[in-house]
């Protein structure tokens, strides 16, 4: 067998067999799946306790029965008690809380208090403020003495939902969901950051291990140092790809299992049918009524799924694999060079900083990119090789012109050649140097050695 293949095999097998690899591989999909599932669980398991809330106005009858009851909250209008009488003993009277609306509310919007023993859910608060706002608006409008006000209000009652449609160069329109794009940008950028860092430093630790154990002296008497370095980098890359592939498979499997067991029956079928009838969205909503899912919920799902399906998945997956491999290769070779230059892990710090700064900078810019994918900062950071893997992954869900991706990838490839060449030079000398504390000047000298 080819020697470099032997090295790759060893690096791969020893890592894949480790307990930590198995744990990471099987635990992470659970975490991913939880990220998807927990919001659903929370939505389904909201505080379902029935609440009674006493509404007190201290005399004036302005807001009598203004707040409608909901399916788990009853608003009990009490004109018979004063606020001060009830605010200390509402629990004894069987109330969840007391809502006090002061007469000044029309002029000062914060003249309203909800007293309760527990933190009230946000939905309840929205319900109360929404109802009151509507009523106050109505009262104010009434002051203008407009005829048929009720009918007018009914007709002008509108609900707005934005459909975001992006035009591509060929003129075809695509429905997108900014929410999904943002989620993908976040996930892509963050995952890239995590993987490059994780596997890059794995290479570094491997190099340090070989150096401190003097294994390298034995191996270098069999193979060239560069072969050892490349073998290690490629071996770890394969570990990364294996783990990544397993994550995708396991996450999909888990999400499927969890979704079917937690979502109401039939929801999945409806959602799956939705995209097909997208053009005829109204009908599909109409057709879905009468089931366990309300029309509004369905429209939300519909949008989400439409947005998700319309993502450039092929491009995203291709770019992710490309940027993972190249970004990893770039940083792994730098990490390998650092590992070879030091005697132990604590000494790595002075060299780590210049290498980690671009990665972290990339992550910061990527997070900003989610808000504003077309900014010039995002553009440049997605072109410059040291930050491009992370930032470009955050930009791609928002559609990036082809030439920008091509430029970024091209520059990346050129940089890798340079980085590997440079790292090999440092590695070759550093790996066999002991006892001396390495300085930047020293490293520069190693790089400029001939041969």
């Amino acid at each position: 067998m080819n020697k470099i293949a032997l090295i790759i095999r060893r690096e791969y097998i020893t890592r894949v067999r480790k307990k930590s690899f198995l744990i990471m591989t099987f635990l992470t999909p659970f975490l991913f799946a939880l990220i998807f599932i927990i919001p659903m669980l929370v939505m389904n398991n909201e505080d379902k306790d029935f609440k009674r809330i006493a509404v007190i106005e201290n005399g004036s009858d302005l807001f009598k029965d203004v707040i409608p009851d909901t399916k788990d909250t009853e608003f009990d209008y009490r004109s018979d008690v004063k606020f001060d009488d009830i605010k200390n003993n509402f629990t004894e009277q069987g109330y969840y809380g007391v809502l006090f609306i002061s007469p000044e509310i029309v002029s000062s919007p914060d003249a309203i208090q909800l007293i309760s023993r527990k933190q009230p859910p946000i939905g309840l608060l929205d319900h109360i403020t929404g109802s009151l706002e509507k009523e106050i608006e109505k009262q104010k409008l009434l002051a203008y003495n407009i005829e048929n006000l009720d009918e007018i209000l009914k007709t002008i009652n509108t609900s707005v939902r934005i459909q975001t449609i992006k035009m591509d160069e060929s003129g075809g329109a695509r429905e997108t969901s900014t929410g999904i794009s943002m989620a993908l940008a976040y996930l892509g950028g963050f995952l890239m950051y995590m993987l490059v860092f994780m596997f890059g430093s794995m290479v570094m630790r491997g190099v340090i291990e070989e150096k401190t154990n003097r294994i390298v002296e034995v191996i270098v008497s069999s193979v060239k140092p560069v072969q050892l370095m490349l073998g290690k980098i490629i071996g770890v890359a394969l570990v990364g790809l294996t783990q990544f592939a397993l994550w995708i498979v396991l996450t999909l499997a888990l999400v499927t299992v969890l979704k079917t067991s937690f979502l109401p029956e039939g929801t999945m079928e409806q959602i799956q049918q939705l995209p097909r009838s997208l053009a005829d969205a109204d009908q599909s909503v109409a057709g879905a009524t009468g089931t366990t899912v309300t029309p509004e919920q369905l429209t939300d799902f519909q949008e989400l799924f439409a947005g998700a399906l319309n993502q450039p998945w092929g491009l995203i997956i291709f770019s992710f694999v490309f940027y993972f491999l190249t970004g990893y290769l770039l940083y792994a070779s730098l990490f390998a060079a650092i590992g070879s230059a030091v005697d132990n892990e604590t000494e790595t710090q002075q060299f780590m900083l210049p290498v980690t700064i671009p990665i972290i900078l990339g992550l910061i810019v990527a997070m900003g990119t989610m808000q504003n994918p077309e900014s010039s900062l995002s553009f440049w950071f997605s072109i410059i090789p040291f930050t491009s893997p992370i930032v470009m992954m955050a930009r791609i869900p928002f559609d990036v012109p082809g030439w920008e991706i091509a430029l970024s990838m091209g520059l990346m490839l050129i940089t890798i050649v340079g980085a590997v060449w440079m790292a090999a030079k440092i590695y070759r000398t550093g790996i066999l140097m002991y006892g001396k504390k390495t300085s930047w000047k020293e490293i520069w000298k190693w790089m400029t050695y001939k041969g």
């Binding site: 067998m1 020697k3 032997l6 090295i7 060893r10 020893t14 291990e209 154990n213 003097r214 294994i215 390298v216 002296e217 034995v218 191996i219 270098v220 008497s221 069999s222 193979v223 060239k224 066999l432």
Partner: protein, 308 residues
């Protein structure tokens, strides 16, 4: 025939010279000792022979032609500090290192089984290296060094960390390897092993080779006209014009007398003088141990250096 030759090898590091024009000639199928105090430059020379570092000047020859990078396959190297992957299993690791040296999987397996059995370490095959003691690790590393049957074997301090039984076993293996045709270079501080094993040595001190040649010749050269005479019964000979008695001991019915002969030595005269005193059982030139020679040579050199 000379198997390996180093000519005028010089290596400088930033602040000091590690080797200053050192040459060695290693005959085929012989054992060559590299001696010298700590920090003399032995390990640097060994690393140069293994092409781990390159010399600043000087030339290296294997089989009469310049040493090439591919020659690493004909060299087995046991470094001073043991280099094994701690988390890897012994057998797996030995197999890996053997394959890196170019052996096929099947061939490596066959030879490993042979050597593991020979050194009685078969039980360790599935143990992780970190579970082994230092000496045990060294045995494993010894096997991985000799496994590909290289023409040239280089051991840097092969005996440190071994108990006396293992030292004996490794010595036997080294002699056995020479018998099978290997040429061996080793560095050591263990002078008794030099007397037992080495055909030739070079003594390096402060980057320079200060003594070289065959062990026997060196010991004779340094004998310094001293003789050892064993006589029956308790005899106390006295010094005369021919020799001075250095010391004498009596043990188990025999006296051992150490004398220093006057220059030039008249051995016949000495023997007749001794036979007059009692029954002579043996008469031998007293060879200094390598230990004594080592100390004397190095100390003399260092004193000279101080004077200059």
């Amino acid at each position: 025939m000379i198997l390996f030759e180093a000519k005028d090898v010089t290596k400088r590091f930033a602040t000091q010279t590690a080797l200053d024009g050192v040459s060695i000639n290693v005959p085929e199928q012989s054992i060559y000792g590299l001696l010298g105090p700590n920090g003399a430059g032995k390990t640097t020379l060994i690393r140069i022979i293994n092409q781990i570092t390159a010399p600043d000047s000087g030339a290296l020859f294997l089989n009469g032609r310049p040493l090439k990078p591919e020659d690493v396959n004909n060299i087995g190297y046991l470094p001073e500090e043991r280099g094994l992957y701690k988390k890897m299993k012994v057998g797996e690791q030995a197999l890996y290192l053997a394959q890196l040296k170019g052996l096929s999987h099947a061939e490596a397996m066959r030879r490993l089984k042979y050597w593991f059995k020979k050194l009685q370490i078969t039980d360790w095959w599935d143990k992780k290296v970190e579970e082994l003691s230092k000496g045990m690790q060294q045995k494993v590393q010894f096997v991985t060094t000799v496994l590909h049957e290289p023409k040239l074997l280089i051991f840097d301090e092969p005996f440190t960390g071994f108990d006396p039984i293992n030292v004996k076993q490794i010595k036997e293996e080294i002699l056995y390897l020479r018998e099978r045709g290997a040429t061996i270079i080793f560095s050591t501080h263990n002078m008794s092993s030099v007397e037992e094993l080495c055909d030739n040595i070079t003594l390096i001190n402060k980057a320079n080779a200060i003594l070289e040649g065959s062990v026997e010749k060196i010991r004779h050269d340094w004998a310094g006209n001293e003789y050892e005479i064993v006589m029956a019964g308790e005899v106390t000979p006295s010094s005369n014009g021919l020799f001075t008695v250095l010391h004498s001991t009596f043990e188990a019915g025999k006296s051992t007398v150490r004398i220093k002969a006057a220059e030039p030595a008249d051995s016949n005269g000495i023997i007749s003088a001794m036979t007059a005193a009692g029954k002579v059982l043996s008469f031998n030139p007293a060879l200094p141990s390598m230990n004594e020679i080592f100390i004397r040579v190095v100390e003399t050199k260092n004193k000279e250096a101080l004077k200059n």
